[in-house]
Symmetry: none
Subunit: 211 residues, 4 copies
């Protein structure tokens, strides 16, 4: 990595941390500069604007994420269940690697997507929804997932469940990202309930019984 790009990455990492901590709007370029050890004006040698820093942070995150996702989604050997598992694991790994960027994405994306400059967020969200919903639908179709699943709702449920973890997850904590992914998957797939105790009234339709 050339000197120049390394410095940019370093500064963006600082910026992402502050954006995640204080929110984009409440972050001043002064505190970014201060944490990076230079003066506010000097940031403008490296970046056009505060907004362009944000954009670069989000693009970098999404590029990395989609590199991982594309490998998974392109793997025809994976059934819907394994695909879902792989997507969740990949997502937690992304949180592990680019936690602040994920937190910024989670907090700011909806609002930013309205601006032309950040239209790529809207695209990403659409692709994102496609990937997850397709996987869920495949799973319902082939009997891996519950036939009574409301796919739209389940998509949101999964999406929020995974990304919101970025706001509390800290690398080097009690659990590894993969361990947390495993726990999440267990809850999402099987529920927190002991199966036999579920009163039938909870469901609109009886489960298809495996034979």
């Amino acid at each position: 990595m050339p000197e120049r790009a390394a410095r940019r990455a370093e500064l963006l990492s600082v910026a992402a941390g502050v954006f995640a901590e204080l929110g984009y709007s409440a972050t001043t370029v002064r505190v970014i500069a201060e944490r990076a050890g230079l003066l506010a004006g000097s940031l403008y040698y490296h970046f056009d604007s505060k907004e362009s820093m944000l954009e670069e942070i989000l693009r970098t995150f999404l590029d990395a994420l989609w590199t991982g996702y594309d490998a998974i989604l392109g793997d025809r050997a994976l059934g819907p269940r394994e695909t879902l598992r792989a997507l969740v694991v990949e997502s937690f790994r992304e949180i592990d690697r680019h936690g602040p960027a994920v937190a910024v994405f989670q907090k700011e994306a909806r609002q930013l997507a309205a601006q032309p400059r950040f239209a790529f967020l809207t695209e990403a969200q659409r692709d994102f929804e496609d990937a997850w919903r397709t996987t869920l639908e495949r799973g319902v179709a082939d009997g891996a997932f519950r036939p009574d699943l409301d796919v739209r709702l389940a998509y949101r449920f999964l999406r929020d469940t995974v990304w919101v973890a970025a706001s509390w997850y800290r690398p080097g904590g009690r659990h590894t990202a993969d361990a947390i992914a495993g726990q999440y998957l267990s809850m999402v797939l099987d529920g927190i309930s002991v199966r036999s105790t579920i009163p039938t009234a909870t469901r609109s339709r009886p489960w298809p019984r495996p034979t």
Copy 2:
């Protein structure tokens, strides 16, 4: 409701909507005023500051929420499963009634809690965690919930899963709040998976089999 209090409530409702949409920091009092149909300065006849509006919005929301929660938590007739169900339903009803306030809480609480003025948020979060974790622990103890549950993780999972819905839920949409609560509960309790497909590797311990 006296004239005065009604006007306050009206203005707070507008403010909550803008805070939820743009974020507290990115919201200007001029925007609030514009949407409320008066001038920025006039807001200060009713409120001390932008911050005091935020505080009142959050306090009002938490008061309403705890009124509901306390009734549930104080009901000794409820088992952990019914308690959890009631808490989720109550939460979605709160989202239905005070959606913007919930979204603001969800977005801003962590950051605000550091200020002395918003210390009540820290208390609320602690009480909140107590309520959910105690319920989960009771459920694990009496066999309603899975014995291998990581309660800390499950708590976060539930908390985020429920509240994050405030950022997309709109009253009057396709589903009622109670319907969505039901769907969420179904996913959370039973998982999205069809039972027999769960590979045993997912779990640390085999399920207790009903006899």
Copy 3:
């Protein structure tokens, strides 16, 4: 005094007190109203503006002052020494009666005099200077005051000496206004020094010795 005028006087008295305490610019009509027991807007039933209250306070004070001064200055029986004494006594009585108004005059007059609306202050100051300087000059001419007196300087000295007392004098304190006037006169006329100890070097010219 008609009801109406009495209320005005009452409100102006409150206003003068606040102006004296906080300064005209730092005084808000809200605190005047509050101390008078009504709401800010209600003051505008009685007065056109904050500025018109100030004007009325200053005019009332100057009218009263000149009533006293004119009687003294018109008394041909008084020598310069007695005239000066009478002016000082009258001034302290004015401070005793309208202390806050005097303090406001002392603090604000110089700055206000630049506005057309307050041109009467400039006139008053000119008349004021005339009265005192004429008295001093008469005294120098007839041997009552020191022949080496710089009249311009002595005028300022006297003027400041007297009016500045308004900023600390409180009616009902240790000394009456007349007693303070007496003490001031004693210092101004005779100095604080024991005469014989004055080294001759202090003076530019030897004193004319009375025969």
Copy 4:
């Protein structure tokens, strides 16, 4: 003086001039900025707030003043008369050098002293009173000043008389600061009156006659 400090001093000098002319409260930072040739916001690169400018102006003035006063008060060779003379001369020199600062002090100190931030003004006023009153009392005790002197009153008389001059004194005028100090001293020490004309009624006690 480093570049930075010089710029601060320059801006503070402008600010002091405006504060003295319009009063602190009536002064807007935009006026200060305009006279200094920059924009209002740019002042905040150099100072924290309008109030901090005021504080620095007053502290600088008091530091300079006390440097002079301490030298005088610490000189054991000076009798009360020479001490008083030296204090007055030093005060007028201070007016000559920092006229606007003195005028601001004179106008605003009483009101400001109530704020914790300006508690140093209260201290200064106490030290000030100590210095002058001690000098006066020493003079009365050793026969330099009139035995019938009301020291409290005389202190106020001297204090106001001297400092109020800051509101009209302009450097480079007809008289030098030292010349004005001399005239003031002559009036304060010996009075404006020619001795023999003093009616005995003015005094409560006869003068001690030198033998």
